[in-house]
Symmetry: C2
Subunit: 412 residues, 2 copies
Amino acid sequence: MSTSHQRSTPTQDSVRRQNLGALLRYVHVAGDTSRAELTNQLGLNRSTIGALTADLAGAGLIDEGTPQETGRAGRPSLVVRPRSSRVYGYALSIEVDRLRAARVGLGGKVLDSRELPRPHGTAVRDTVATLAGFVHDMQRATPPDGVFVGSGIAVSRMMRHADGVVRVLPAAVSAADGVAVAAGTSAAAAAGAAGIVADLGVALGAELGLDRPPVVGAVADLAALAEHTRGAAAGLDNVVHLHGDAGISAGIIADGRRVTGHGGHGGEVGHMVVNPQGRECGCGSRGCWEMEIARHVPLERDAVRACVDAARRGDPAARATLRQAADWLGFGVANLVNVFNPTAVVFGGALRELYLAGAAQVRGRLATMALPACREHLRLRTPLLGDDAPLVGAAELAFERLLADPLETADS
Amino acid sequence: MSTSHQRSTPTQDSVRRQNLGALLRYVHVAGDTSRAELTNQLGLNRSTIGALTADLAGAGLIDEGTPQETGRAGRPSLVVRPRSSRVYGYALSIEVDRLRAARVGLGGKVLDSRELPRPHGTAVRDTVATLAGFVHDMQRATPPDGVFVGSGIAVSRMMRHADGVVRVLPAAVSAADGVAVAAGTSAAAAAGAAGIVADLGVALGAELGLDRPPVVGAVADLAALAEHTRGAAAGLDNVVHLHGDAGISAGIIADGRRVTGHGGHGGEVGHMVVNPQGRECGCGSRGCWEMEIARHVPLERDAVRACVDAARRGDPAARATLRQAADWLGFGVANLVNVFNPTAVVFGGALRELYLAGAAQVRGRLATMALPACREHLRLRTPLLGDDAPLVGAAELAFERLLADPLETADS
């Protein structure tokens, strides 16, 4: 009889590791937390919390101390703090117009950061050396007792794969990434051009000499993760986070979990066709949602801002244009609300200002197009983390392994 | 210090319960399974499997025996069988044109069933007595040692709530459910009419004298659950299951989990607007996906079949009509593929025949409108369970509690 698939029986050890992860995750998200609050929030008794914090403190992941003066009588509960200055990961971000990197401490604290503009036309594969340079530079300033736990990369306007393979979307990124795609190409033909696949995580991991390559995610997905973890959608379990950046992609959270599809390519909501008579899109289709907005106002922050400014000055053409763009924004949002029944839609990137200027149009479309039950508890929000969301989300990827199994990762 | 939130520490007991659930679920889905296969598939060692099967057998949930003659030499591994004739739940289904009930044994075996047409115009609340009658009738034929573990209901064309509250969708079901809604009403106005809320699960639970009301799900969600558990989408983790039945709703599986949205109202993909110049929909919007198909061929099985038959006889008008309807079908499917990056789209209900007759149109739309990466591993499928899928899915709801914690549920 084959024994090759036999593993050892899960024991109490797996429960302990699960509890260690839950406690460390709580402190990572909430920051300094009293033992009393941990006892209540995690549903564990005081002696268990004491044993878990001792284990985590022993591994150098947290420390404990007395809280700030509260002015209340009685002996205060010890406060558990993430060791942000010691335990860290690297967060990297390849955006349309810039490259960023940060050394981020447990608890989400940015300890160090680097940024450079991304020259127009730089291919993703040519960003690896710059990003590796950022990391090497930050490594030199890292204290010798620092514990590195992982790294994550956010990639803008790329098709991404759950296993870290980044595939360049042919049309939309052709200019920025130097992929030659003939105008008017069909999506079927473009599939060939899309065959330019760069295993970004592996390439960067090799350049950095890491055993474990950085985890790769799309900007929209990681912005959603960031806003869901510590931003505008914190505490909300069904979230559609829209990211406008040349086109529109979405990060989806359903029941508290990221929904990215089979290969991690989901959330391409900008290519949901909303108008069969609409404008031709670079993807080979016609009337894609992002094109119907962009034919009024280009989905770039500066363009939206210029239009909003002109409208504020009373320019009637700018006002009309803005109304039409916001009307199309609401059109697609209503469709997504019927599909997902979310509690929050977050308008990120270039969509933030478009939404703020055209909230009435967006709400109007929701009122007529979204089913009452699907929009019943819906909140419309703008990001709390602003432009840092993708980088913050990349840091969350960096910490994922540690939080799943704290002692194993900290020891390795 | 408050102790009201303190629970006992999870112990080895929780691991054991998890393993019992995993083993029972495996046998429930796969049917008779050898101990050797369980050892391999569950990644547990032989003595653990032996202890778990002894526990489950002691609770009367499984039994063990020697397998059928295999013709192979050597002592055969014991076979574990779900006790389908003893352990059972009730599955109920309120469809547009009929009411069904089944007593289903562990393992998904239908032990008994009842069915009646649903008279046109019968309100959902008026189906409770009929369904309760079905159950009482089947109860009389149940052996005295039978163990009842739960019940589930599939409700067609209803808005449903995760907590079992069923809300009637105003426009689309107004005829069938006797809800008076003025023609041309806006969705906002209809929200008032939609205030007719029937807590179907509770009503039926009371009628049946059950402590625990049946779990309520939408037909599309439960058909998706059924096809994912033991049908066309078994083993596939990202599934869009479309159910055509007067309109179109979807059951979504992402990473193996059902995605139903905050209140359980998600999946209303039929009300995704795909044509701003389209036909007015009963929901108050215009150009909803289901309307754009239905203006060519009504989304009812008989209507689709009649059109397909006429097209087969060579009727050119029927052929053109079918092509246009299938083209619109592909249009919406491509949108959903861009949003979800699924591995399977399943065409259920009235969409089955429309897809089979117009697969070329559907594939054509996918080729031009779905991004290559989003459709890369996509399979288009028809249901394996046919008309039984909602009832099979309702049975899966009935067993969910048992499979999460077998001994607790079987003992209670």
